[in-house]
């Protein structure tokens, strides 16, 4: 089987290197081509950015604790909302899922490493630069980007601060990183599966990532194109989005959401994959309707390309378009419903235990479904005229992204961390973390539904008096949520330093190739392809 090993000879080289001292440590991480090392780097980056963007969210919530202007000037407030959104999407959820993909995909398909280890290293190390540039815009003359993470023209083009060009550059870098990462993931999944692992035998997490990677490959270049057009509009006299020169500000919204809507599914499809791994393990029962789960993911991915204008119902698009996008958007509820029904059926008549990963997975199913319901309500065009750009939308996407994407990530970390480091996390602490997180998350975001319905627009630094109580509750919830995450970090560090040794199997009900490897797994996951029955 030397052929397989041969491909990852580069990483072998560094593994063998036992340079001592701080320099050795730096070069080990800087030049690593090992999928586990790179996965770890992605996860660490994502955790750091989670606290950066989370701190911004807490500043926003502190300002909104009561009416009046307290801590943040409106222009700083706008910069906070913009960067909170950009970093959470591109710096937290996406890198975290890529990190999981790096760790898990080779182990789950019986491969020694990723298909393109050196490219893998490159696609990670682009990111710290991108986020340094993005964060540094805050300290530039005129302030950082202050037009929301959707950077609508002409607010971001004609009226944007000078630092907008740096934001564009950072987005280009993130785009390149994502594209390289996706190519690597697709190549790994298609070419490195162990003999006998047919496509329809792949773990569902691998499937979800394969589809996500294709989505990324299709949309990140479109985003790159969009920001390039912004750049030329700002600096080189073109008029893509400026009506004066024959362009159209609405075109920006179309192009942006052509990227933006599939992007939403990039953030949630891998989460579906994670949850579909965890629920069967702790139900001690096979995933119900595997085939349909795969079809549902594919279905959602395809539909995501023809729903984008549902973000633009109030812009005055014609009746025909409004109807078309309303119907297609509603249609997405069908495959999403199928997924939820299948998860519930997996639990039905299982033999359930409630370890921390399972708790997060159950909360995911409950709360993501609530986010799905508000999504369905938002799809109804006439009602959307009232919901659009209010806190109802904020509540909706935080239910989908916090209790969806972020919860699945936490579930994944608790689920696979024992495998990664060979040590068991502290279950008691995990449960504390879970309950604090889930309660504070609902405390923060549930009142936002009411705020939105009662008429509070999003992205405002100050509000009318009737919104006071719910905003105060949301702020308290947000701070509890923020502090609870320190438990998460503590638990991870504690596990790695002092955790109790665990077995290869880790979880009683776990199935899949990764559990056949030792905990922690060997440097090259599968040097001999496993036999799949």
């Amino acid at each position: 089987m030397s052929d397989v090993i041969h491909q990852t000879a580069d990483s072998e080289h560094h593994h063998g290197d036992h340079k001592k001292g701080i320099l050795g440590w730096i070069t080990r991480w800087l030049f690593t081509t090992n999928h586990k090392d790179i996965g770890t780097l992605y996860l660490i980056l994502s955790l750091v950015m989670f606290f950066v963007a989370g701190a911004m969210a807490l500043l926003i919530r502190a300002e909104l604790f009561e009416p009046g202007l307290q801590f943040l000037k409106p222009n700083i407030f706008n910069q906070m909302t913009t960067l909170h959104g950009l970093i959470m999407v591109f710096g937290v959820v996406m890198p975290a899922f890529v990190g999981l993909a790096n760790w898990q995909i080779p182990m789950m398909i019986g491969a020694p490493d990723m298909a393109l280890p050196r490219l893998n290293n490159l696609s990670f190390w682009i990111l710290p630069f991108a986020f340094t540039i993005l964060s540094s815009t805050l300290f530039m003359d005129g302030g950082g980007p202050d037009f929301g993470w959707t950077f609508y023209a002409p607010l971001s083009t004609k009226y944007g601060p000078p630092s907008t060009d740096y934001m564009i550059f950072a987005i280009h870098l993130m785009g390149i990183s994502s594209i390289l990462g996706s190519i690597n993931i697709i190549a790994t999944i298609l070419n490195l599966r162990a003999p006998g692992m047919k496509m329809m035998k792949m773990p569902i997490f691998v499937w979800s990532w394969l589809i996500t990677a294709f989505l990324l490959l299709a949309i990140m270049p479109v985003l790159a194109g969009t920001v390039t057009m912004m750049l030329t509009d700002r600096n080189f006299g073109t008029s893509f989005f400026d009506a004066a020169g024959g362009g159209d500000p609405l075109l920006f919204q179309h192009v942006f959401w052509f990227f933006g809507h599939p992007e939403v599914y990039v953030l949630i499809l891998p989460a579906f994959g994670v949850i579909s791994e965890i629920i069967p393990t702790f139900s001690r029962k096979k995933l119900f309707g595997y085939d349909f789960m795969v079809y549902a993911i594919a279905c959602i991915a395809i539909l995501s390309f023809i729903v984008w204008a549902h973000h633009m119902f109030t812009t005055g698009i014609p009746l025909g378009a409004e109807l078309f996008f309303m119907y297609t958007t509603m249609l997405i509820a069908v495959p999403t419903g199928v997924k939820v029904f299948n998860w519930v059926s997996t639990m039905f008549k299982g033999s359930l235990t409630f370890e921390t990963p399972m708790l997060f997975a159950i909360a995911f199913v409950f709360l993501f479904t609530i986010g799905g319901f508000s999504g369905l309500m938002l799809a109804i065009v006439p009602a959307d005229f009232q919901y659009q750009d209010t806190y109802f939308v904020v509540a909706h996407f935080h239910y989908v992204l916090v209790s969806g994407a972020i919860f699945s990530l936490m579930a994944a970390v608790y689920y696979w961390l024992p495998k990664w480091c060979g040590k068991m996390y502290n279950e008691r602490l995990g449960k504390w973390h879970f309950w604090l997180t889930v309660i504070s998350m609902n405390l923060t975001f549930f009142p936002m539904h009411f705020l939105g319905l009662a008429g509070m627009p999003r992205r405002i630094p100050d509000y009318a008096l009737q919104f006071t109580d719910f905003n105060a509750i949301a702020t308290v919830g947000a701070f509890i949520f923020g502090v609870s995450q320190l438990l998460f970090v503590y638990n991870i560090i504690h596990t790695i330093w002092k955790g109790k040794q665990t077995t290869a199997q880790v979880w009683e009900g776990a199935h899949g190739l990764e559990w056949t490897l030792s905990s922690p797994p060997p440097h090259h996951s599968f040097t001999t392809p496993p036999v799949i029955e």
Partner: protein, 195 residues
Amino acid sequence: MQNGNQNNLKQKKNVRLIIKLFLIAVVMFGFGFALVPIYNVMCKALNINGKISGATSYDASHQSIDKTREITVEFVATNNANLPWTFHPLKNKIHIHPGEMTRVAFYAKNNADQVMKVQAIPSITPGLAAKYLKKTECFCFTQQTLKPNESMDMPILFHIDPDLPKSINTITLSYTLFDVSNLHHLPERIPGKIQ
């Protein structure tokens, strides 16, 4: 030996796949830009966004004037971003029959102390009516230049297609003036101009 062959085969397979995937990315990058003309074509074909489909010639012999219907056409003028011009329609509102050729004018005066060039951007509501409003002549087809304190009446010559849906009785024609004195790059795509 066999291992070596297999290795080569795998490498080749990898490279081929990677090239294909890169191509997808490149094509999608191009597609991002292609969305611009696609959008403009769609807008014109489907009359989205009140964009007007361009200058048409008026053939009096082929136009039947529908005396049974009277359509109200409103004119609206807006200055973009502090443009120091006076700009308003001479008449706010007219009533015409479909098929009837009509000439109206907008008054424009440059209040600045230097020569300024502007571009008028037309927009129509309801958007559905855009297709039926045919302009033979319009000041929005070209950029307009005025010297300091100079003024002029800028004309539009248009008619309404008698096929205008029965549900529409009022059409609003809006012009927004944008300052293009500083636009070095000549605009290539002016709505209302045939390309």
